[in-house]
């Protein structure tokens, strides 16, 4: 109402200024908190003491202009800084026509255009004429890798987001012609190269390796000129240009630095070090996300969890001293047992559902179904005020079953379950009908049929709801200790963090000593002495009273479930059993051993790590060296392993600089496919170029060859710029061999944790659960998860430690109540269920004289294979009983087909 009456238009910043709203507004429907707010800068009442229309029209009387800003003094034990990133200055964008030509957009604006909730409801249109563009160009590295604007670093995320935006655009409009102009294609994240390949193959997105210097307008179109690697000039006309803008330090970085008294680096990001990536220069002030350096979502999430772990280490003794517990009202058991009184709420989801399905018709239809006493429609059921109103209506009408006809239970059921809980109803008494994701969205062209389907789905949900029964929420006690597998940098960091948070850790290492790959590193990427980092870590681990170290030891078997694992560890021919509540996988990776390129045939051919070891021993071996040739992507990116090993580019640059430092006159050549020196490592790359290191691009179909001569070796490779092969007599050939997964197969089977096709462990969710695996109570960090730098391994280890400590700190874990239940009166003890259960969640036990099956609630995932294979139908599934499913099947038929 207030938005409607406000006379003051303001630009909608949520929609990247592509739309208009009013001074009082809400950014987006699912915003939390979900109340409208007044843009004080634009409001007439606040600034000129006029108007006041909104306060008068608000029926709830919720607008109070007498409120003043308040200052709060909070006493806290630690601070986590996560202010995010800032935007690239518009002056930088102006060079590319932004502001002058309406069809030059930033990638943020383009993102809103492709979004169904965006200003154009997902249709891609040109701002200048609202027509559909045919040719779109994406320009990369806008405000990144560009010293002229002060941002010498790489923003790390733009290459991948440009590919994503281009793919999404192609999905909407398959006829679009999209070109992306890269300097290097930096898709070094886990699974990113695969996604890029898919996008190129499936959508036919053109990849052009060139930097476009400027954008001009010709006849209403946008003209670009560029020069490719072979020295040729090109030009082309486009209907739309998207600037892939980089991530800057936040606008108020200086303010934060002053207030929090922390140091910033030369790009105004928070200063941290490789061995403590989440710790600022001030004790107790931690940092996470893009303020620590440009990064993507999973890394930000990882750092956030990691920062939480460090805060928890610092404040372990004060744990639970200031928390408040949420209390729920007692369940109204009597009401639950009454005849079903069902309430059906049909959600519009804005236009998402109501734009296709006739929501009012579905609502009225619901009213005709048996047992339904209340039927209503809501604009956004998941918004906070709607939830509140649903709760009130349940109470008013004494409902004891609720059907929410909206989106997917996979995403939203917990929300509605919580609503029921908050008013004293068992959370199992809600059922959802998915009329959005599996109806309105997928049948957009057939509104009538979609409405019919929605009615059917509601009828089936109501039928099930009639038979829903309250379920007990089981909890199990937790053994307050952790098993950490692997004692490299990641494993040790994780173990230390859990131990510092006050819990016992058993650290198991296959090798004879602690350290893993860190033992082979000489310098960290920020130039620290790697052996000192290692020594410090080992010392702390060995001295910690909460850590028990087992070297030359291996995990033989793991049984149990989150909170109560039992593992068998073998060491020196003996085995021992340990009990623990959680598991951290930090099994590491190993240097890929190359095939070909003369490796093994000549002592002049070595890997980067081998070079690093030589350099550490002194520069004597360089006495006669004239040319050193480095070859990137040996083994990685489709050579032998499909993945990108992420850090070889930076490692090569680092070692090239070390070579130059040891012997300035030596020529260093680096043959690469894309230089992926992301983030602040771009500085090293620039420095290497300045110092005369020569970088020459090759493509995967024309790889450099190492040729053995009677004396020495030479490298032959195709040089794009010259257009011909070049030959370099090489004193040394250094292969950037990348990172191969460790022997994860065996452990994967023992723990039932899935691997990626590359052989690394698979996380539970690529974005939001980057350090958890699909098995509850098992967490993941370091090279076991995928190639990454020491800094990233440490951050991830802290994150895994945070996640692993959560169940330990809680002391109890809740189990989903969808588990199986054996009716022992009917059970004949045949053991079929026990043998078939994929989770070892059923045991046979003696009850009196006979054997009976029993479910181990904490292990059960509710798959139901036991129920469907029980000869006597003695097993029932919580929330998915035979009766309920049968009722759904009967309701599937519009005429109904109950048994007489």
């Amino acid at each position: 109402m207030c938005t409607m009456y406000c006379p003051r238009p303001v630009v909608d910043t949520y929609n990247e200024r592509l739309d208009i709203t009013r001074a009082p507004h809400i950014d987006y429907a699912q915003a939390i908190p979900s109340s409208y707010y007044i843009d004080a800068k634009a409001c007439l009442r606040v600034n000129y003491e006029t108007c006041n229309l909104c306060a008068q029209t608000c029926t709830a009387g919720a607008i109070d202009f007498t409120q003043q800003p308040k200052e709060l003094d909070l006493s806290v034990g630690a601070v986590v800084l996560a202010p995010g990133f800032g935007r690239v200055d518009e002056k930088v964008l102006e060079k590319f026509g932004y502001g002058r030509y309406p069809d030059v957009l930033t990638s943020f604006e383009f993102e809103r255009l492709t979004c169904a909730s965006g200003p154009s409801e997902g249709h891609i249109v040109r701002p200048s004429d609202n027509k559909r563009p045919k040719k779109i160009a994406f320009l990369q590295c806008i405000g990144s890798r560009d010293e002229t604007c002060g941002n010498g670093y790489c923003s790390s995320v733009c290459c991948m987001y440009a590919i994503k935006e281009a793919s999404v655009a192609k999905e909407h409009e398959p006829d679009l012609d999209i070109s992306i102009f890269f300097m290097d294609v930096r898709t070094m994240g886990k699974g990113f190269d695969d996604a890029r390949k898919r996008a190129q193959e499936k959508y036919g997105i053109n990849v052009i390796r060139a930097r476009v210097p400027r954008v001009d307008q010709v006849d209403g179109k946008l003209a670009l000129t560029w020069t490719t690697g072979d020295g040729e000039h090109h030009s082309g006309l486009f209907d739309m240009v998207v600037l892939s803008v980089g991530l800057e330090s936040p606008e108020d970085a200086d303010l934060i630095s002053r207030v929090a008294d922390i140091e910033l680096n030369h790009y105004n990001f928070c200063r941290t070090s490789v061995d403590a990536p989440l710790v600022s220069s001030r004790n107790g002030v931690l940092v996470a996300g893009a303020f620590q350096g440009p990064k993507d979502i999973p890394e930000s999430v990882t750092q956030a969890s990691g920062a939480a772990a460090i805060a928890s280490e610092l404040l372990a003794e004060a744990r639970n001293s200031q928390t408040v517990t949420v209390t729920y009202p007692e369940e109204d058991k009597a009401l639950e047992e009454e005849e079903p009184r069902i309430g059906v709420f049909v959600c519009h989801c804005g236009v998402n559902i109501a734009g296709v399905v006739d929501v009012k018709a579905v609502r009225d239809y619901a009213g005709t179904l048996p047992g339904v006493v209340l039927y209503e429609d809501t604009l956004y059921s998941c918004s906070q005020d709607a939830l509140k109103s649903i709760a009130e209506k349940i109470k008013e009408n004494r409902l004891n079953r609720v059907v929410i006809s909206a989106c997917s239970p996979r995403t939203h059921e917990p929300l509605f379950q919580e609503t029921l809980r908050s008013i004293g109803l068992n959370p199992a008494l809600v059922e959802m009908a998915n009329i959005r994701d599996q109806c309105a969205w997928v049948h957009a062209q057939e509104p009538e049929k979609a409405t019919e389907k929605a009615k059917d789905l509601v009828r089936m949900a109501v039928a099930k709801a009639r038979l829903l029964a309250p379920l007990e929420q089981p909890t199990v006690d937790v053994t307050p200790s952790a098993l950490v597998i692997g004692a490299g940098a990641a494993g040790m960091s994780a173990a230390l963090s859990i131990a510092d948070q006050g819990y016992k850790v058993v650290l198991v290492e296959k090798g004879r000593s602690l350290g893993g790959n860190l033992k082979r590193l000489t310098w960290t990427l920020d130039g620290q002495d790697a052996s000192k980092v290692l020594k410090d870590m080992v010392k702390k681990v060995k001295a910690h009273r909460n850590i028990e170290v087992l070297t030359s030891a291996q995990v033989e078997s793991v049984s149990g479930y989150v909170g109560n694992f039992t593992s068998t560890i073998s060491k020196g021919g003996k085995t021992q059993m340990i009990n623990h509540g959680v598991i951290v996988l930090a099994t590491g990776g190993r240097e890929y051993k190359p095939k070909g390129y003369g490796y093994g045939d000549s002592t002049r051919v070595m890997t980067q790590l081998e070079l690093e070891e030589k350099l550490a021993r002194g520069k004597g071996f360089l006495r006669n060296a004239k040319n050193v040739v480095m070859i990137q992507c040996v083994g990685s990116r489709g050579d032998d392993m499909t993945h990108c090993s992420r850090l070889c580019c930076t490692q090569a640059v680092k070692n090239a600089l070390k070579l130059k430092e040891a012997k300035p006159e030596v020529n260093v050549f680096v043959f690469y496919r894309d230089m992926r020196t992301y983030g602040f490592y771009e500085d090293l790359y620039r420095e290497a170029r300045k110092k005369g290191v020569k970088f020459i691009r090759y493509t995967s179909d024309r790889k450099p060859e190492v040729i053995k001569l009677s004396r020495g070796i030479k490298v032959r490779a195709y040089d794009e710029l010259i257009g011909d092969d070049i030959e370099i007599p090489a004193s040394l050939v250094v292969l950037s061999t990348g990172i191969a997964p460790g022997d994860n197969q065996e452990l994967s089977k023992i723990i039932k944790a899935p691997l990626t096709s590359d052989g690394f462990f698979l996380e539970a969710h690529a974005k939001l659960r980057p350090v958890e695996v699909a098995v509850d109570g098992v967490y993941l960090c370091g090279l076991a998860h995928g190639p990454k730098s020491l800094e990233e391994s440490v951050a991830q280890a802290k994150a895994a430690a945070a996640k692993a400590t959560i169940p330990l700190a809680k002391g109890k874990v809740a189990v989903a109540p969808i588990v199986s239940k054996v009716n022992q009166d009917l059970c004949i003890g045949c053991g079929i269920c026990e043998s078939l259960c994929p989770f070892n969640a059923i045991t046979l036990e003696k009850v009196g004289k006979r054997k009976k099956a029993r479910t181990i609630t904490a292990s059960c995932k509710g798959c139901g294979i036991c129920a469907s294979h029980c000869p006597t139908i003695a097993i029932s599934m919580g929330g998915f009983t035979d009766e309920a499913i049968m009722a759904q099947i009967h309701a599937f038929s519009p005429e109904g087909c109950e048994e007489e």
Partner: protein, 170 residues
């Protein structure tokens, strides 16, 4: 399970291709769309249940499936299904042939026997029938019908009168 259903559907006179079991992981939305579209078109071609080639008419299907559901509840065939699953699981044997063979030799005969018995009772509810009529209505051989019939007689559920069988009302 799927194999059992398919073979049993065929046994009941329903085109087994009306049932399909497909896999699409959470990340495979395009594959899912392909599968579901293909499947719907496939069923469109087949037409309404009972209308496809070789299928029994829809009234028979209704009756027969009613009996079939009862059969699938019975302990004997369920045990057969469970034991087969257990054995295959234990041997790590998941080949299509092995499953199909196990199902056709162990489970479907048990299901069929139960189905014939249950359907017989349903048929006789509508009035007395002689053995030949029963055989044809049940799509079964004489010896398949005689055995359960005599069992039902022994139990006193069915009685014979003038060469026709009828329910005793017990």
């Amino acid at each position: 399970m799927a194999e059992t259903c398919k073979q049993f559907l065929a046994d009941c006179g329903i085109n087994p291709d009306r049932l399909t079991l497909e896999w699409a992981s959470a990340a495979e939305a395009p594959r899912f769309v392909e599968l579901i579209t293909g499947y719907v078109n496939n069923i469109k071609e087949k037409g309404e249940i009972g209308a496809a080639e070789g299928e029994v008419d829809s009234a028979t299907i209704k009756r027969r499936l009613k009996a079939a559901v009862k059969a699938a509840e019975a302990r004997k065939p369920r045990s057969a299904l469970g034991m087969l699953a257990k054995k295959l699981h234990k041997d790590g044997e998941y080949s299509k042939e092995a499953i199909a063979k196990g199902v056709s030799s162990k489970i479907v005969p048990a299901l069929r026997a139960e189905r014939i018995k249950e359907e017989m009772i349903l048929l006789l509810r509508d009035g007395p029938m002689d053995i030949d009529a029963l055989c044809s209505a049940l799509s079964a051989k004489k010896e398949e019908v005689e055995k359960p019939l005599s069992q039902l007689q022994k139990k006193g559920v069915v009685e014979e009168q003038d060469g026709k069988f009828k329910l005793t009302g017990k």
